[in-house]
Amino acid sequence: MGQQHDAYFVPARSTWPFVAAVVMFITVFGAAHWLNAEPGDAGFGKTVLTVGVIGVLGMFFGWFRSVINESLGGNYNHQVDTSFRMGMMWFIFSEVMFFGAFFGALFYIRMFSVPWLGGHGHGVLTHEFLWSDYTAAWGANGGNGPEQAGGAFRTVPAWGLPLLNTLILLTSSVTVTIAHHALRAGHRGRILLFLGLTVLLGATFLYFQAHEYMEAYKELNLTLHSGVYGSTFFLLTGFHGLHVTLGTIMLAVIWLRVLKGHFNKEHHFGFEAVAWYWHFVDVVWLGLFMFVYIL
């Protein structure tokens, strides 16, 4: 855990934070322009957005490279390690709260707004005056609201691809744990094997989810416009998919770092942070599988 000296560690100055702020600004500025552009006039916003995204990727690459070099240089002591751990834990907590907003919306819509529109309890007058022929229901029979927003649709059955994806993610949680144990035992071959398997499982999950989306759009007519069912379905699974994508990329980077021999038995916070993130993504999926697909 580093040598005991008489002073704390404060990192040297860096341009990366300032660069990060600039490229984040370019990204959202481009995105906002693009969203507001007249049809057929999206070129400027798109270009700025692309520049911004490339900048963000470059920034992550550069910033992480300098952090990794400092870490390999043995600059980070036990206290810095603890700060990193706390940072990652609270970051994951903030992600939990982000998903909480969308789960909260789902619960509110299913428990209150859709039943009220159907004339239950509190919202009876809205029902009476505006949509007296609407019967509250979730899924294909009314999940797109009294005006049938997006037209008739069918839902994705839980026991097909979603079940398979559940099994894939659960397995990947096991493989990443095996890789962690292998890391602590110092079995390099086994780490690479099981971490590689985890990356492949993540990629497979994403492939199946893309397949599911295409099927939803082409065959089930379940789209982003399918009333509030489509809204909650695609935003919840979409944001989750985005997190799986990030997690898979992070795992792949860690795999390369293992290959380069960046970690040892005691010193592998980068690995652990990504593993925590992966478990978090897994747990969110279980919530999705339960409340979006099964119930």
């Binding site: 990192p11 702020a21 959202v28 919306a105 509190h122 927003a149 489509g230 909650t232």
Partner: protein, 538 residues
């Protein structure tokens, strides 16, 4: 907690770098970043303040005076967004950045580069948001709460939503940094229950920030997809509900108002003991009261929505839960008073602002209690009574605490004493004109004048004119503050001692004034008698 420490790797142990860009844009120094936050906050305070001046000018007389109603709506919306996210919150983060490492004996924040990123996101976020005022279609005009469907009509929605995303990222990173600093960087012997109350208040505030900023991000993301991608979260025709937005927004919004007041409580709890020359009364009760208020903030959000047509059971629950908050808040006010009881008090400018805080914030608390009553709120909702209430807690509450903190710590930051005479001129003008500005708004609200309107019934003319006069003079008074700060930083001949204030206790007063670029590179030895609360054993 870890005491392990490794040698400092960077090349400049002593003194700040010479190059402007290196010092301010590449900083990993909590004092420089704190200064950046404070300067940014003061700038935003005057931008938001100029919006307020235009609002009061339009409301000076009945009838339309200066501007189109739509521009007036942009002003009220932008005034709130700039003041909340640009002035008050960054000011507290700046104070936390400057003072928390000094107060707990840490060399810097736990994650100094992330600290720099947290700051630099903000100017860009506000550039994005303020730029909408100059774009075709204008800025956001649906109120800072951005209720759909009104907010969805604005062309600037995407810009505002992305600006809020950026501010949220900045706040979350800042909060993570503060938690890691407090939990991981304290000097050996600085136990949790020996920390200054200001540090405690920021620890709890940081938790609130991490818990609710992502929820705001979720809410505005749903606005974005509803407007641009055809989702139906807030459209009843598609099974959604605009009230859903209000629930999610206020689940963020209510903790948010405590994010803006808990650090103020911490500041007052530092200043009052110093100038009463007594340790704070009921240290642990003060800490637990902050924690209680933070907990309650999560279960009271619907009191902002009493008039929206909630089920009766929900109205009753949220009414009583809201009233419960007055218990821990009362504990705090009584403990501040008890701290002063029998103390040998002096009335320097920070203490004057702190005393004004205690009295005027309490008025804001009482009007809040009135608003918490469901049947009464049906009358007060969306009137100037609400405006008066939240300006008493935010201007004479949060802002006065920030100004008090600035006067209190300026000598430590700059090494010079500010001008006590001009400080007092600033104080007396502020405290008089702020009451002339906001107190009549209670009467206007009770008489039925609605908020967010550019024109009003002639019956409201007199109080509005009084309020506007108070507003102009309060605004002008704040220029004195800028003068005092500039004089103190660059021209004052009167050097500050290390201790600065006779009764001041705590680690921040053991370092020289001005605080050197790097402090506590070697963990300080904690002497309990030196700590603000080290000898408290209740």
């Amino acid at each position: 907690m870890s005491y392990a420490a490794t040698h400092d790797q960077h090349d400049d142990h002593h003194g700040a770098p010479k190059s402007f860009f290196q010092r301010w844009c590449m900083s990993t120094n909590h004092k420089d970043i704190g200064t950046l936050y404070l300067i940014f906050s003061l700038t935003m305070f005057f931008i938001g303040g100029s919006f307020a001046m235009l609002i009061r000018a339009e409301l000076f007389k009945p009838g339309m005076q200066l501007m189109q109603p739509y521009f007036f709506n942009q002003l009220t919306t932008m005034h709130a967004l700039v003041m909340i996210f640009g002035a008050i919150m960054p000011a507290f983060v700046g104070l936390g950045n400057w003072m928390i490492p000094l107060m707990v004996g840490a060399p810097d924040m736990a994650l100094p580069r992330m600290n720099n990123l947290s700051f630099w996101i903000l100017p860009f976020a506000f550039l994005l948001m303020l730029s909408t005022l100059f774009l075709p279609g204008g800025g956001p005009a649906g109120g800072w709460t951005m209720y759909p469907p009104l907010s969805l009509q604005s062309d600037s929605l995407a810009y505002v939503v992305f600006a809020i995303h950026l501010m949220g990222i900045s706040s979350i990173m800042g909060a993570i940094n503060i938690i890691a600093t407090i939990l991981n960087m304290r000097a050996p012997g600085m136990d949790l229950l020996k920390m200054p109350v200001f540090v405690w208040s920021w620890l709890i505030t940081a938790f609130l920030l991490i818990a609710v900023m992502p929820v705001l991000a979720g809410a505005v993301t749903m606005l974005l997809t509803d407007k641009y991608f055809g989702t139906n979260f807030f459209n009843p025709g598609g099974g959604g509900d605009p009230v859903l937005y209000q629930h999610i927004f206020w689940f963020f919004g209510h903790p948010e108002v405590y994010i803006m007041i808990l650090p103020a409580f911490g500041i007052i709890s530092e200043i009052v003991p110093t100038f009463a020359r007594k340790p704070i009364f009921g240290y642990k009760a003060m800490v637990f009261a902050i924690a209680c208020i933070a907990f309650l903030s999560f279960i009271v959000w619907a009191h902002h929505m009493f008039a929206v047509g909630l089920p009766l059971g929900a109205e009753i629950f949220f009414m009583y839960a809201t009233m419960l908050i007055s218990v821990p808040t009362g504990v705090k006010v009584f403990n501040w008073v008890a701290t002063m009881w029998g103390g040998s008090m002096t009335f320097e400018t920070p203490m004057l602002f702190a005393l004004a805080f205690i009295i005027l914030f309490t008025i804001g608390g009482f009007s809040g209690l009135m608003l918490a009553l469901v049947p009464a709120d049906f009358q007060y909702h969306d009137t100037y009574f609400v405006v008066a209430h939240f300006h008493y807690v935010l201007v004479t509450g949060a802002l006065f605490a920030i100004i008090a903190a600035a006067y209190y710590w300026l000598p430590k930051w700059t090494g010079n004493m500010y001008s006590e005479f001009w400080g007092k001129v600033h104080f007396w003008n502020s405290v008089i004109w702020v009451n002339v500005l906001f107190f009549p708004q209670h009467f206007l609200g009770l008489a039925g004048m609605p908020r967010r309107i550019p024109d009003y019934n002639v019956a409201f003319a007199n109080f509005n004119m009084i309020s506007s006069i108070g507003g102009f003079l309060f605004g002008a008074t704040q220029l004195i503050f800028v003068g005092v700060v500039i004089h103190c930083a660059f021209f004052s001949k009167k050097k500050a001692t290390d201790r600065v204030w006779e009764g001041a206790k705590g680690l921040e007063w053991t370092v020289p004034s001005p605080a050197p670029h790097h402090t506590f590179e070697v963990p300080p030895v904690i002497n309990d008698d030196e700590l603000a609360h080290g000898h408290v054993n209740d």
